[in-house]
């Protein structure tokens, strides 16, 4: 009998909840850091450089950043593998559909799987674009402000980013509340507060992230 964390559906969902919350915490910090772009090139680039010196002299140059990267990579992989395995199981558990169709569940709930796939692909593009600068044509190493402006000066860069951020908002809207239920933190009394927190986080993160491309598009940041 499967009573282990990884062997049980309830346990695997716990893994998804915990890794999801780790990524959510990171996104809040990431979004707040992004907003520094509104204070100009020097401050944004200075902030980006400071991230590399974080923890010095206890940590070596860029070590703090690499620790965060390793934790995030582990979280993304565990979240994705759990989601894949649980989804396979769910689809197997309901092989034949009802003839009489009717709309089930909310839009955010129904798009969790496709939304997750979109976000996974986005992360790959995002890293190639602004971390390794592989697909960013006008990129210059060490000048993140100019690279962000270069990305959001292309129509496809904006389209990809805006789509992903809308998917992110929907994913968090259902995901945060679900994580609370999976970890046993929900209750009838706390339900409204949790749903409000989920919607608030989704809205704040989506608007915060989207403000950067919108600012570039409208010329506020250039």
């Amino acid at each position: 009998m499967t009573r282990t964390l990884w062997g049980s559906t309830v346990g695997k969902k716990t893994v998804m909840a915990v890794t999801g919350l780790i990524m959510l915490g990171y996104l809040v910090v990431h979004m707040l850091g992004n907003l520094k772009i509104f204070f100009g090139s020097d401050e944004f680039n200075g902030y980006a450089h400071w991230l590399r010196t974080l923890g010095e002299p206890f940590l070596h140059y860029e070590w703090a950043l690499w620790i965060v990267r390793v934790v995030l990579l582990a979280a993304v992989v565990l979240h994705g593998v759990s989601a894949y395995q649980l989804s396979r199981r769910d689809i197997r558990a309901r092989p034949s559909k009802y003839v009489h169709k009717r709309r089930r569940a909310s839009y955010a709930t129904r798009t969790m799987r496709w939304g997750g796939i979109i976000l996974g692909l986005f992360i790959v593009w995002h890293l190639l674009d602004l971390t390794t600068l592989t697909v960013n044509e006008n990129a210059q190493p060490g000048r993140p402000y100019e690279n962000v402006v270069a990305t959001f000066s292309t129509p496809y860069g904006n389209a990809v980013y805006l789509t992903a951020m809308l998917a992110l908002g929907l994913h968090i809207r259902h995901g945060f509340w679900s994580a609370a239920q999976t970890l046993g933190a929900g209750s009838v009394r706390r339900d409204r507060a949790l749903k409000t927190a989920a919607n608030g986080l989704a809205l704040v993160l989506t608007v915060g992230f989207i403000s950067v491309p919108v600012a570039v598009m409208t010329g506020v940041v250039s």
Binding site: M1, T2, R3, T4, L5, G7, S8, T9, V10, G11, K12, K13, T14, L86, R89, D90, I91, R92, A93, R94, P95, S96, K97, Y98, V99, H100, K101, R102, R104, A105, T109, R110, M112, H174, W177, S178, A180, Q181, T182, L183, G184, A185, G186, S187, V188, D191
Partner: protein, 248 residues
């Protein structure tokens, strides 16, 4: 009332099934949905055709035998069991789709009858309490706080019909399993097996091939007894508590 029914017909577990259309006339608005199907079956028998097989027993909404997905809803449009659903919930001339519960853990036996013995095996894994043998104990020997008794009763209302599994897009049995676990775990009588119960019943649920929970809430909407969705949250909390406490 005159109705057009589209009913799932399937000879046996291995045969392919299909929706078959029937016309029924002379249906009273005061008939239950099952009495309407009885009327159809009487006609079928008189015509020398095979009657539609469906599960039913008490017809009072308390046994959990009846099932049926009616127009895409488990137990039909009202929040009750199919036997307590009356034809006044439909209009004259309606077309009604009648399908069996759909889940790989609930294979179709014939027509609208599915095998729900997977639920029995989940109960066998831990849905019981240890009681001393001998004469009945004194009623007040184990005090139960009112709030706990109410919570236990809310979950004890589950009749094990399987509407939660039928409504869930993942064919998950989380609402049923959580109702059965919480019913006993909240009471002092259920205390001795509190940890093993949740671990064993969740493991049995997984082994039967039910899907996982994605918190769509369809189960709690379909439940004729109103088992609430936070019941699943409570079970998750019990499961996490038990994994910390029990050495494997």
């Amino acid at each position: 009332m005159k109705l057009r029914l589209r009913v799932w017909r399937q000879k046996n577990a291995d045969a392919p099934g299909a929706m078959v259309t029937y016309e029924v006339d002379g249906i009273s608005r005061d008939m239950s949905f099952l009495e309407m199907l009885d009327t159809l079956n009487e006609e079928l028998i008189l015509r020398g055709e095979e009657p539609v097989a469906f599960d039913h027993d008490c017809r009072e909404g308390i046994c959990g035998a009846c099932s049926l997905v009616i127009n895409g809803d488990a137990h039909g449009p009202e929040r009750t069991t199919t036997c307590q659903l009356h034809m006044r919930s439909f209009e004259d001339g309606d077309t009604i789709d009648v399908e069996p519960w759909r889940a790989s853990a609930f294979p179709v036996v014939k027509d609208l009858v599915v095998d729900r013995s997977a639920f029995d095996r989940i109960i066998q894994a831990g849905g019981y309490i240890s009681v001393p043998t001998g004469s009945a104990p004194e009623a007040h020997a184990t005090p139960v706080p009112k709030a706990d008794a109410d919570a236990a009763f809310e979950h004890a209302e589950c009749i094990g019909c399987g509407a939660c599994v039928a409504a869930c897009p993942n064919g998950s049995a989380m609402l049923f399993t959580s109702a059965k676990i919480n019913h006993l775990n909240v009471l002092p009588q259920g205390g001795p097996e509190r940890e093993t119960r949740v671990l064993d019943m969740v493991a049995a649920m997984d082994e039967e091939g039910f899907g996982g929970c994605t918190l769509t809430g369809e189960c709690a909407t379909a439940c004729p007894k109103g088992i609430p969705l936070p019941s699943i949250t409570t079970m998750n909390r019990e499961w996490l508590r038990a994994t910390r406490k029990v050495k494997r």
